[in-house]
């Protein structure tokens, strides 16, 4: 908008300048021409017709007085009807032919300088020319220009500044809306605030909100589908798993036993995947449906995890240890539990037998955290960001996960305004930490 305004204003100022100049020149010329005519007429009146033709009957002092000017130099010349010089400077070119009694003004060059001439032809045939240098005319033009042009430029500059302010002011709400949109998480489909928007963009915001609400609806449908599908999958999978386990307790030929064990493994993986999809759908939905956040002590979540994970750690021959301190955060206990479960699950999966994993939680004012550290192969630096992508798996790793665990961890962290870090504290193994804003339990938000 401003980029268009500046050249337009410059053009206007330019036109004003040209116009001012032409007008000033015209004014100066008209005024001074009239006063230049006076000495020419005076001279003409003092020409007498003698026996030898016309003669200027004027003393040198009188001529000088008549032609005196404090700024310009004046010269004169009188020629008879035949063009012969009667008086004045000889080197001034004869005036163009004039009718008797006619007057004329024109510009010539005299001694290399521009000169303005007033010429008068008397009825008796002689012609008087009085020439004047252009000093005061130029000065007048300059003065007029200064008097008119300078205010024009100032007005232009003022307009520009004004336009800038007005435009900036007009754009400010638009900029607010823009930053609102930019700050959004892609999962946040709540409508934009249209209360403070100026009238001009309100319809645009309304349309945008309409689109958001449609997106919300279709998201909700998708999430309901995912939730139901995962839920429906889970029960038959659990039954399948149980019956395979019952089969495995029987006396079976070793090849049959092996095959059933493989089926059991696959069933376990499918069950885990169904669970993870379910929790992911839940985490995504929670942003919009604003699941209630309560005061959650991370330590009690970890306490509950002990009972679930210690037997599995023992089965995998991993030394699962704990270092737990009270740490309260505002959060969704279900989602936080899932997040922690996934971290521990990963640690046990990727730690070889004989290794160790440690679950920690506590407060490092002003933050609260939980972390899980393992002595597995570690996550290479290049994958530190990518491991949070859904279904991302590092090629050649031993685990049999689907690659959803860390995606869940990050999703849940985002819901809680927390962030996730990956470290290789001792060069070996991985420590993943989720850092929250700590809450002092006595003073709820």
């Amino acid at each position: 908008m401003l980029s268009f305004l500046i050249p337009a204003l410059l053009l206007l100022v330019g036109c004003a300048a040209v116009l001012s100049y032409v007008l000033a020149l015209h004014a100066a010329t008209t005024a001074y021409d009239r006063s230049l005519l006076d000495p020419a007429l005076d001279m003409a009146e003092n020409v007498r017709l003698g026996a030898n033709g016309p003669q200027l009957d004027m003393l040198a002092q009188e001529q000088e007085a008549l032609l005196y000017d404090h700024e310009d130099t004046l010269v004169f010349q009188i020629r008879d009807g035949a063009g012969d010089l009667i008086a004045g400077v000889p080197d001034l070119a004869p005036a163009p032919p004039l009718a008797p009694g006619q007057r004329a003004f024109f510009d010539v060059t005299y001694n290399g300088k521009p000169l303005r001439i007033a010429a008068v032809r008397a009825a008796t045939g002689f012609t008087v020319q009085v020439g004047e240098t252009l000093n005061k005319r130029s000065r007048l033009v300059r003065e007029i220009l200064a008097a008119e042009f300078l205010p024009t430029v100032l007005i232009a500059l003022a307009s520009l500044a004004l336009a800038r302010t007005v435009v900036a002011h007009g754009i400010a709400p638009l900029a607010r809306v823009r930053s609102q949109i930019l700050a959004r998480s892609p999962h946040d489909l709540r409508p934009l605030d249209e209360r403070n928007a100026p009238l001009e963009i309100a319809p645009a915001i309304e349309a945008f909100n309409h689109l958001l609400s449609q997106l919300r609806d279709s998201n909700a449908v998708q999430q309901r589908f995912l939730t139901n599908a995962a839920h429906q999958l889970r029960t038959p999978l659990a039954a399948l798993q149980m019956h395979l386990e019952l089969l495995l307790r029987r006396e079976l030929p070793s090849d049959v036993h092996q095959e059933i064990e493989a089926m059991h493994g696959a069933t376990t993986r499918a069950t885990r995947l169904a669970n993870q999809l379910l929790i992911l759908a839940k985490a995504e939905a929670s942003m919009e449906q604003a699941r209630p956040k309560t005061l959650v002590n991370l330590r009690s979540l970890a306490d509950a995890a002990v009972h679930e994970w210690v037997p599995r750690a023992i089965a995998r021959e991993v030394d699962l240890g704990f270092d737990l301190a009270d740490a309260s955060v505002w959060g969704d206990a279900v989602l936080l539990t899932e997040s922690l479960n996934n971290l521990i699950d990963n640690a046990l999966r990727y730690t070889p037998p004989g290794g160790a994993a440690t679950v920690r939680c506590g407060v490092r004012s002003p933050t609260a955290y939980f972390s899980v550290e393992d002595s597995g192969p570690g996550i290479p630096q290049w994958a530190h960001e990518r491991v949070f992508e859904r279904f991302f798996r590092i090629q050649g790793t031993v685990g049999d996960g689907a690659g959803l665990g860390l995606a869940i961890v990050r999703e849940v962290a985002e819901q809680h305004g927390a962030h996730v870090t990956i470290e290789n504290p001792t060069g070996l193994g991985t420590r993943i930490t989720v850092v929250f804003a700590a809450v002092t339990p006595e003073v709820p938000r």
Binding site: H231, R234, T235, P236, L237, A238, A239, L240, Q241, M242, H243, E245, L246, R249, T268, T271, N275, L278, I279, K282, D303, A304, V306, H307, E308, V310, P311, I314, D319, L320, G321, F322, D323, L324, A333, V334, T337, E338, A356, T358
Partner: protein, 230 residues
Amino acid sequence: MTCKSIGLMRILVVEDDPLLAAGLARVLGRCGHAVDRAASGIQADNLLRNTLYELVVLDIGLPDIDGFEVLRRLRLRRARTNVLVLTARDAVEDRVHGLDLGADDYLTKPFAIAEFEARVRALLRRTSAPAGPLEFRGLTIDIEVKRVKVHDVAVDLTVREWALLELFLARPGRVLSKEQIAQQLVNYDDALSLNTIEVYVSRLRSKIETEGVKIRTVRGFGYLWEAESV
């Protein structure tokens, strides 16, 4: 092998998925328990009104009235039946809600059969009069007369060591935190520091651990009783 030392019980399995219900019934039936099945909340409620069960394995998600409602009605009648609630893995609220309503234990689906059996055994042991001494590999414990034998050699335990041993036996398969132990043993000793507990545990270990019995340390947290039944 895992059925011993618990008498025969009447158990109700409330689960609407027939395949899962059949599996659970089979696991429980192998120990000789009498197992009934209900596929809906109403049916379960009716059965519970008319029959005395020692244990109900109760799924929360049921087609008509949910497991919570069945549990609530059961407790309204002041029935002392043990209840093991089965919940979905992502439903911490269910777990808490279930315990509030008077469930005795919970298990999240899916679970390993061994885990299920351990919980069932622990719950049934509560109601059953101990049918003789507990037999583990290399260790015999007679709770009634407070006598412990390691490889048939009697071992003397102090009062506190007994209390500790009973704590472990009451919660087989569960990790006990040092804080929990301190709370439970506070009657026997006024000021129990967490360090003192380590001392008790290590003394108990030296007296009763055998090739089949182990008190495992869960680093930074507490202890887990691991014993092979005979």
